[in-house]
Amino acid sequence: MEFSEHIKTANVEDVVLRRPFHPPMQGTLCVTGHHLLFSNRDGDSSRLVLLLLRNIDAIEKRPSVSSGTITLKCKDLCVLQLDIPGMEECLNIARSIEYLSSLDIVSDMYPFFYRPLKLSLQDQWGLSSPEQNYAQMEELQDRWRLSHVNKDYSVCPSYPPAVIVPHSIDDETLVKVAKFRQGGRFPVLCYYHRKNGMVIMRSSQPLTGANRKRCREDELLLQAVIDGSGLGYIIDTRSNQQAQQARMTGGGFESKSSYSCWKRLHRQLERGKVLQESLIKLVEACGDHSHSVDRWLSKLENSKWLSHVHTALATAGLLAECVERDGHSVLVHGSEGTDATLLVSSLAQLILDPNTRTLDGFLGLLEREWLLAGHPFQHRCAHSAYSHARLRLEAPVFVLLLDCVWQLARQFPLAMGFSEPLLLRLAREVYASDYGTFLCNSDQERCAAGVKERTHCLFQFLLKPSEREHYSNPLYEPTELAIWPSIQPQSLQLWRGLFLRWTQHAVHLEKAQEELRNLVIECRGAS
């Protein structure tokens, strides 16, 4: 595709750029296929501001007779303003931004054009494969096997080619189970608890429908999971009522009569539109400075964002407790099994498994539980909090995960190997990125689009020696113990680093972080 046909005006002089915490800057604005480029030659020093067009969530234009103003609201929650001389130029640029910021075709997106000198396309893409993950966990290999039933993505399009299932269940059975689960997402192992051999499984809802259909193979599979231990739990991320209602549209739940060894617990986690609207309200509240303390608290409450954080952590705590303290295996699902399910299962793993709390381990968790497990990133992150576009499939589930992880790290500041800057970076990259990692909705789509051959991998980049230190937690002291968060409302806080980043200049807080890092390094050096 030729981007140039969408760029009527490529250059404008004497544009004024206004952005948070900086004085207005005058310079030249330049539109390219993927970026806005603003340069200012003030005396000898020249400054360059580069903005990825994909990062723009909403654009507002106010043209007047001889000039115009464009307000750019970005997906990283920053708001910029451009004063452009000339009405026509203003309109042209606005049109270009509108079109180029919402490209639909994956291969047109910037990651396919990003070619930094330091990185090579020959480098490994991704951190690990299902085969490697399986090979690393020797303990589970006598009861669990790696199945390649999905090698051509035909059994479940949103699953990776290889998944871990009970040894006693053959591929034929899996194919039948897949037909009984929405989107073919049959129950697979996502976590093995070394201490007691219990596991966390995840899937989508069973398609029992209104007439309570059963599937023998599905029941067999679940029976095989708890073989020997006698009892398992199913954490359904919908309320009991929602699960009942799902039967009307062909979905459903595991009934007591058919799955007698499984106990169902319902925890209602919001998803989809509700979550997206919550984010929109929260960001709106954070950006409005005119109100009083009362109004602020009322808006914070009204956004319900912290309630979602609260529920997610509470459900993850419940899941982890079932596994660690009660010693039972657990199956998690909601309806599709691609959103709340992943949120809860990854948080529980962070609580239980020290290996997921290192920098490498955390990125590995995200790769396994979000990228390979088929969280539809492209759908969920098409728009962020500012867009006026009609909501379709957007939902900030991944941002909610990052917030919950931040809460965990705040309560256990020594237990995580990674730092807040990593979470902030991920929150930005998931919406707009130079890297191909968060493109597409599943592994299948990524393979088809050639993402792994033609783009660079964010996770590999973040683990490079040059980046590692910045994203590591200087206070990290590994612990083998489970980290149980407190979920009393008093113990949870608004994540200022993300939501108030552009509201308030955090220069003193940043300095403190730097000071802390230096202090720890100094003390390490001394001892």
Binding site: L265, V293, W296, S307, I487, T503, A512, C523
Partner: protein, 628 residues
């Protein structure tokens, strides 16, 4: 301290305030000074100490199947829910506590019993440790414009002020006495803080007795004199910290506020901080929010909003910021008052001082500030803290709010303060505990009459000895003379979990960055010291240095970091700590592989584990079992 137990009750249950966790079972003791609960149910011996004077309310609830509930809440926000099996025992404990927690006379307070085994000299030196008059010297007084006067040496000018006051040089004796007659309770305008850099000053007083139309030439002269003491400025601010409506209502009672027409070149301003009654009620509501058993996030946020507490904290902060800005940026002097000038005025003046002067952001500086703006200027600690049985309407969390504002500042400037959160909590604790004499009495004169300096000890040397615990490892002196300009956007005001849920350990972050940093910096300092010692030893062995027995030229940092090594510490450290009634001593009898720390203290997701309604009992009982 007497260890004769007045009452001892076995088989008492201590319930967890928030979850349905299995209660701790133990023995409850009442001593002359403390309530002590010794847990016997688990293999760790856990003691909970509560000083009687810290108890704010004790409530006996109707008998239940478990026994007779006894709810105790303390002024430092420690809350304990006991269940005593026999109603009669409960009745006994209740009656004793009501009597012990509310002494009728000041002399019954703990400070008069407390004896840390110091001799008379140490006691006297201790009281001289912090001298607020020295602080005026530090600010450069006396100078061209300001001087210290002893006109109040017999408390004739103003009975609630300190005996030494800073006043403008040009104010004559007649002006001062005349002005005192026109100010509520004789609390004349006097110097609070002098800002060397700008020559501007913060002065404080009580409201004028202006009524609907009264004037006082001397009072007008007094303000003139303050204004003249800052010759570069053409005007001064007069700040009334009350809401306008309250101030107007006072006019009808013969009090009120300054009429801009009568005073030359003043800029008059209301800042709208509510009175002590509103604050008391607001705190009450806040504590109700804290007491909710398993609130949803919405319940909590709505409760927080309805309490109005953070709104009040912001109002105090806004006023402090206004004052600091006036002095540092407009370079104008400010006169501040409320009604009597001992509550809101104290809050606002001390906050402004902290914003303006880095000295008050040091461990010692905060002591000086509290001594100067609160103790010597007559904040009525006895009444506001309810130390003795008295009018409950006089009780109000004025000092607590000041400490909370300070905490807010520390959150915004993590490198700006020499002290840490623990220091604030410890000071707050001692304000209410009455273990030391500093916060007993309503004004200087009362303290002298009670002979507090002979009969009790001062808290400051005690805090100073333990200063290594109160250090902020991130403190950067390089911030220099910087005036703090905090943001007062509403979203900066957060609920202070560390204060209001301090005793609910499960709610605090389970690992503390502060503790970690204190440990590693301490280790580093010890390592360095060892290194220097070794080097000196080597030097001695090589004959380069003469053996002097001790290393010379130790860097100052090391002395401040080394654990307290004063001779009497070992004996008195423990009683001191226990006396403060804040320590939950945990003595492990059986080592539990260090897993204690990570154990979940709260499992609220347990509360309604099952919505299927059939499996809850089974799983709950299993969950209660501790993982060995």
């Amino acid at each position: 301290m007497s260890f004769l137990f007045e009452i001892q009750v076995e088989e008492v249950k201590l319930l967890d305030r928030y979850t349905a966790k299995k209660p701790a079972i133990g023995t409850l003791y009442l001593t002359a000074t403390h309530l002590i609960f010794v847990e016997t149910s688990c293999n760790t011996r856990k003691e909970t100490w509560m000083l009687h004077h810290l108890i704010a309310t004790v409530e006996k609830l109707p008998l239940t199947a478990m026994g007779c509930p006894l709810h105790i809440s303390c002024k430092n926000f420690h809350v304990a829910h006991f269940v005593i099996s026999s109603e009669r025992d409960c009745q006994n404990v209740h009656q004793s506590l009501v009597r012990l927690s509310q002494p009728g006379k000041v002399e019954e307070l703990y400070a008069f019993l407390y004896n840390p085994k110091q001799d008379e000299d140490e006691r006297r030196n201790g009281w001289g440790f912090i001298d607020s008059a020295m602080d005026f010297k530090r600010m450069g007084l006396p100078n061209e414009f300001w001087e210290m006067t002893d006109l109040n040496k017999n408390y004739e000018l103003c009975s609630t002020y300190h005996s030494e006051l800073g006043i403008p040089k040009t104010a004559s004796k007649g002006t001062v006495f005349g002005s005192a007659k026109f100010r509520s309770r004789g609390r004349i305008p006097t110097l609070s803080y002098y800002h060397k850099e700008s020559n501007a000053a913060i002065c404080r007083c009580s409201q004028p007795l202006s009524g609907l139309s009264a004037r006082c030439v001397e009072d007008e002269e007094m303000l003139q004199a303050i204004s003249r003491a800052n010759p570069k400025s053409t005007f001064m601010y007069v700040v009334d910290t009350r809401p306008k409506l309250n101030a107007m209502a006072n006019r009808a009672a013969g009090k009120g506020y300054e009429n801009e027409d009568n005073y030359s070149n003043i800029c008059f301003q209301f800042v709208g901080i509510e009175n002590i009654h509103v604050m008391r009620n607001s705190l009450q509501k806040l504590l109700e929010v804290c007491a909710m058993k398993s609130p949803t996030m919405s319940d909590y946020l709505t409760g927080l909003e309805n309490s109005g507490w953070l709104r009040h904290i912001k109002a105090v902060m806004d006023a402090g910021v206004f004052l600091a800005k006036a002095v540092a940026e407009d370079k104008a002097s400010v006169l501040v008052h409320c009604s009597d000038g001992w509550d809101r005025t104290a809050q606002v003046c001390s906050l402004a001082s902290i914003l303006l002067d880095p000295f008050y952001r040091t461990i010692k500086g905060l002591m000086v500030l509290i001594e100067k703006e609160w103790i010597s200027m007559g904040h009525k600690f006895t009444q506001r803290c309810g130390h003795v049985d008295g009018d409950p309407k006089e009780v109000s969390p004025v000092f607590t709010q000041f400490i909370e504002c300070l905490w807010n500042l520390m959150e915004q400037y993590p490198c700006g303060f020499e002290y840490n959160e623990k220091y604030l909590l410890e000071i707050h604790n001692h304000v209410y505990s009455c273990q030391f004499g500093n916060f007993i009495g309503n004004c200087q004169r009362e303290r002298e009459e009670m002979r507090l300096y002979e009969r009790t000890f001062s808290v400051w040397p005690f805090l100073w000895e333990n200063r290594h615990q109160y250090r902020n490892p991130l403190h950067k002196c390089s911030l220099g003379r910087e005036v703090l300009r905090p943001s007062t956007l509403p979203l900066n005001f957060k609920f202070w979990c560390g204060m209001y849920n301090h005793f609910d350990k499960g709610m605090q972050p389970k690992q503390s960055i502060l503790d970690h940093l204190l440990t590693i910096t301490q280790k580093k300092a010890e390592g360095e010291k060892k290194m220097t010692d070794l080097q000196i030893q080597l030097a001695v062995m090589d004959g380069v240095l003469a053996d002097q027995g001790s290393p010379t030229g130790t860097p100052p940092e090391q002395t401040s970091l080394s654990p307290v090594s004063v001779s009497h510490t070992a004996e008195n450290a423990k009683p001191l700590m226990n006396g403060a009634a804040v320590e939950e001593a945990e003595i492990e009898l059986v080592p539990t592989a260090g897993s204690e720390k990570m154990e979940p203290v709260l499992f609220p997701w347990r509360s309604n584990m099952s919505e299927e309604g059939q499996s809850s009992s089974e799983i709950t009982t299993e969950a209660v079992k501790l993982v060995a």
